[in-house]
Symmetry: D2
Subunit: 433 residues, 4 copies
């Protein structure tokens, strides 16, 4: 089919601070980038509320999506090409899946998904298969092509090698976001020798494998990932931003359900409140729209909604203390009671937040969120799982680390113009002066 192989008359390049240049020669890729659904990713930040902690982290998901595409392009065009284990006819499928893998993300995904029970992976499927410009482009390749792309993104495709390029424990997605998020935040973690890793990737029937000689670069990548999770992604201030944001959404929904009269009607939210969200509604929702509402809601009559919106907009976030929910359950109950007595609704102002990550894991069938382990290609042709070769990786393999924090508005608790004694009790329980 001509369209699938059509090349642009002249290669297009995007200047990219992470990969230097993103190269586009395929007409299909160029057309996909031009769709309104892809351009919408410009209005969704890659790292949600992280910009409140790291002011450089203002980059969008479009930014990242182009990067993932470029990495996969280099793998298939510079490394896999001509190797017998690589099916060249999967090239375009790989590129499209890479470019579109985050297409279903909405604004501040994490919070919206939690409050409204959304799933960005399902929206990715809908956008690719539904009545969209993206679908039109993909269908022009082949009527069955949208489905193929969607299956790769959903990890249900039979093309397991292609799936592993996008979703495994060492895929283009992770490599791009680690490098990109490190670049934009400015942290020095997150760097590893991607060029080296790409050079030692080899196609195998079921997944990408890594030549043994590149093992140390992979170790470095895993350590980078570990550091990025705890230094950046789970940063307590970022999580505070998310806690406040989540509570705004909760409050707005609750008010809606209580027939509260909004001064500024949340028209863009209604279908979500009613659980009747259409694809078009979802596509209309971007971070500009959300921030618009947060701004106007600063003038609402409801004191909680108003306060939380102001906190988010002006970065007057919640403070936190370490908290062990297993051992300190009783304390939480007591604090809730005291908050109520002090006239501070604990539902919105006393929030336990937990973060948890596995730096690397070998395969554990049946577990949730299972990702393919990293396989090494030994000099003798054998395949061995990474943690059996690397002492460093073996040492940290499967060790889940979890962190719990209790968030609250310290400013209110320190304001002794009212409920002075109760607030002192609260502060004592929280262990803050």
């Amino acid at each position: 089919m001509a369209y699938a192989t059509e090349k642009l008359r002249e290669e297009k390049v995007f200047k990219d601070p992470v990969h230097r240049y993103v190269h586009v020669r395929d007409r299909v890729i160029w057309d996909l980038i031009g769709t309104k659904e892809f351009q919408r990713l410009r209005r969704i930040k890659q790292l949600g509320t992280t910009f409140l902690t790291f002011h450089g982290a203002e980059h969008s998901r479009l930014n990242h999506s182009l990067g993932v595409y470029e990495i996969v392009r280099r793998i298939v065009d510079d490394v896999f090409i001509g190797r017998s284990e690589w099916n060249e006819s999967n090239r375009l499928l790989s590129l499209c899946a890479a470019l579109l893998h985050d297409l279903g993300h909405g604004p501040f995904s994490h919070s919206f998904e939690k409050v409204f029970h959304l799933d960005h992976e399902q929206f990715s499927q809908q956008i690719i298969l539904g009545n969209t410009e993206v679908n039109q482009v993909l269908s022009a390749v082949h009527p069955n092509f949208p489905k193929q792309v969607a299956e790769v993104i959903a990890k249900t495709s039979d093309e397991k090698l292609v799936v592993s390029l996008i979703s495994s424990q060492i895929d283009a997605d992770r490599m791009d976001y680690l490098l990109r998020d490190a670049y934009f935040t400015g942290v020095s973690y997150g760097h590893f020798d991607m060029e080296r890793i790409l050079r030692v990737m080899r196609p195998r029937e079921d997944q990408v494998v890594i030549k043994k000689s590149g093992m140390h670069a992979v170790e470095d990548y895993i350590m980078s990932r570990y550091q990025m999770y705890w230094q950046v992604y789970f940063h307590p201030v970022t999580r505070s931003g998310e806690v406040v944001l989540t509570k705004i959404l909760h409050r707005a929904k609750e008010l809606y359900e209580q027939f509260y009269q909004f001064k500024y009607e949340p028209r863009h939210f209604y279908s979500m409140f009613k659980n009747e969200l259409t694809l078009q509604d979802y596509l209309n929702l971007d971070e500009a729209v959300v921030l618009y509402y947060f701004q106007v809601w600063q003038e609402e009559d409801d004191p909680i909604l108003r306060d939380l919106c102001r906190r988010f907009m002006d970065r007057h976030l919640f403070k936190y203390v370490e908290f062990d929910p297993a051992k300190e359950y009783r304390k939480f109950i007591d604090l809730s009671a005291l908050f109520k007595k002090a006239g501070i609704d604990p539902e919105y102002y006393l929030v336990l937040d937990s973060s948890s990550d596995l730096p690397y894991d070998f395969y554990r069938p049946g577990e949730e969120e299972e990702r393919l382990p990293i396989q090494l290609l030994m000099p003798n042709g054998e395949i061995r799982e990474l943690s059996r070769e690397s002492e460093i990786v073996e040492a940290i393999s499967g060790k889940r680390r979890t962190d719990h924090k209790l968030y609250f508005p310290a400013d209110i608790l320190y304001d002794e113009t009212s409920k002075k004694n109760i607030k002192r009790q609260i502060r004592q329980l929280l262990g803050i002066r």
Copy 2:
């Protein structure tokens, strides 16, 4: 006065990708950063529509403002301190002016200022002197302090040395934006040895001067600036984004004046349309709000507003050709006539845009936008204007470069389903196939 000199118990640092860390030890600075007027700068991009060309350029003015503050902090705390020509009591004034110098910027400043005859410098003054959180913080230093800061930013202050730190041909503002914009776009121009320049800066009564030994670093800085202007700031695609954006604003205003019934009322715009903009109205206006309207206006009945908004949101911008307004004036008239015949309103769809810059200039009294020339401090203590010492700078000094382009929607002109012959005539005149 205690507050002016109060230090934080522990220094706060922001991770910054350009300067590595931004250090805050002064209570006043910390409080200013926490004001809502300063936090608002998070919702205004430093480079307006540049992100449409360089996808990395999504950084905000808050990002840049912290950077300018940090540069001035290093100058006064690491270089000027203890020198007899430096009045240590101007330290806080310098830091505050650096931090707040861009406070008055609104969304997509360039376009808004043009269409609505606004002036961000005036808004900076209003925010600093008006009823704002920023004013409260500054007033707590000294009742006269807001005025002093405002005068430095307005360049009317008698503290000419302080003014020159923020506004001259080699000031902290320019140094930060060149480095920062190069970093976020990923271009390799824009780098110069700022650390070296800072080390050779010396305070003099009227302005900062540069030790002769640092002249080459300054040459490099001027060349960087030149390259950034033509490679990034005046990039024709960026300007296309600006052209479309400007036309959206024009159209909305025109519709309002014609009593058009908006489906989505532009409440945030009314006072601007009416020329009755208050400070509060202005502060409520950020890029999230603007993008919200652009999104909902995609559903308006007016075909021009709808079309232009879609173009902006989906990055279907105008194409361009080189155009010499002096020589080709006649052609412009003819094209306008043909556009009308083709049913394409030339007012909105045929736009001449010009960019112009002086890479460096020695002092020319009386000219508009005059900036202080760069003065070198010679080994013998004499002061000499840069272009008299540097052959490179002398060669380019005062050479204004201007670029004119004519913008139009190529897709419409290629669509031959209607007005085929007229469109062919237009394309021929434009010199596009």
Copy 3:
């Protein structure tokens, strides 16, 4: 004492690719840099034979020594200054010890020390305490000052905090060489956020401690060190260069002991051969001198010396196979016998080389080469050893990793013009085709 506190009229700076600038304001430091013993470090490579593997690794020990000085300068002048636990009178002692800590290194230290039973630490002592320009400068500070500096470098000083700046598991020496060696080799390992680590260092009576908030940067540093050891310092090709070099020295010594008549008399080596090395002899020995002899020895009559020198100069090094000395002892005996039968002296051409490293260790009293463990300063003021807080470090703590390789001249073994069958047997035993 005036000289100890004398400042240069104008600060001197060296452009340094790793720390950007090395700053010198103290007259004593400036004078030390100008001594012939310090300048000699220009003619000794920091990484010995590593340039044979990584062609960028041509940097000298002077390069590194300036770097260590600069790091300590930043610690004491930017971080420790003014803290009650820091004795400002130890400032110059710290700077001098940092600058001079590697002063006793000779050419290709590792090999020379092994063959001639030298000890660079003893030479450091002799240079500082003996009749040298360095001693003159230090004595001018105070007659007892050379002894104080020497004790810090020997780790016998009572100023344990100062010692820990130069020799602990996170000292200025290690931080500089990791960053510097990564920079010059071009590998992407070896980077960590030194600026962050410096900022969280705190003086305590016995040693430097690290604020808990910097723990992740320290983890990153430890992983960098691990990677640099296995990727760069223990690279098998580098070790091959060292094996050949060591064997040249062995051979020259043996020939001398056998009254061999050298065409080019090794005058610079005689006192070493005789175990009568004086300080002056040692100082005259640099890598230029060693390479001079290696060059002229390419023309010697002795075939082994000649061959080994050519190999080193032209980079025709030995190849290697993995080898387990514990399990394969018998094989080594057999190979030696076969080498003899083939007319290849196994003493020089069959070499077992082992490398071993501990990535990090908590304190184990009585063990050789014990270095201070890293101590964290907890928010509550308590001190805790790193591996008790960091799961990553705990996982790798105390895990010694060792690598054994067997080196041999593959070219000779493949040359079948003589002893064809024996060579085939050898190759079979070695497991090379």
Copy 4:
């Protein structure tokens, strides 16, 4: 011919700090790198005495040669391949010429060439065409191949396009050394977007041309070159090192001609002193050998040779003042006379040194050292010389800049234990206190 196209079973890579990796797939290239004549370049510094100013500049010519090869490899394999104007059969010729272009350089080329009237370009020819390992490898490609390579390096080849890759005003040689020297010295000048320039290079019959769209990157490159010349290559301290070195060579030659009895006979220098230098003598001469002699000569009886060698080894170089030879000729005569009166031989201790450079030039036929101007490929296919399009380049084009300095041993002049009055007169004339 099989050898010319033979590929290695597995690509070899060298880690390179400037280009990240140097890739070798051709057997011929691999064999050339392994020759003793190429390996000798490890013992010759790329920047001569620059390491005395910038301590990082210790990198060798081998380092640079690999870089030039890699750039040409990328041009021919990534950019030229498949273009009709490119003759693929010139590929290997280009790669070999790039790798070997500096083969004839000796130790501290500049000084040796001046004193002994040598010419490194002639030695390049001799090494390639003479009885060497390099010649053997090249001859195995084709008996005429060494001559072809030699002609490209000598710029006498008819393959003008290939010549222009190695020697023009924007060739692989210049691009590599600017980037590399900037990297190793650590200066921030010298950076430009090489990747961009490579992408817009196009083959034409007579030379490489640059697409107009890359003009700004080329401007940046020219400015980088300008800055590197004046900031690094012509640095007055570097030139001081060269002045001292040149005078050592002069003195040694003079002593030889006066039948002086050297304690340490300069065997490696004899044939040079006698003007009977053979190729083998030249190849035996590297910087280790030169430094060996300088070290032993520190013990010679001749006070001038001894003193100069100590100055060079211990970096006690000459100081300098600005000097205009045209206007101040009389002063030079007077100074010489005073030096003699003070017992300081002006022949060795009063040295005028001039540096001069053209940042860029359009073509001026008949001028010495003429290099091809840079040609732009315009969108319409026309070719235009760079300075006709670029205002910046036009402004500096053909502007030669020259700098004269007078060097002398300040320490002797300040030593007032003898000839106090004459020395004062000298210092007064020199304008130093």
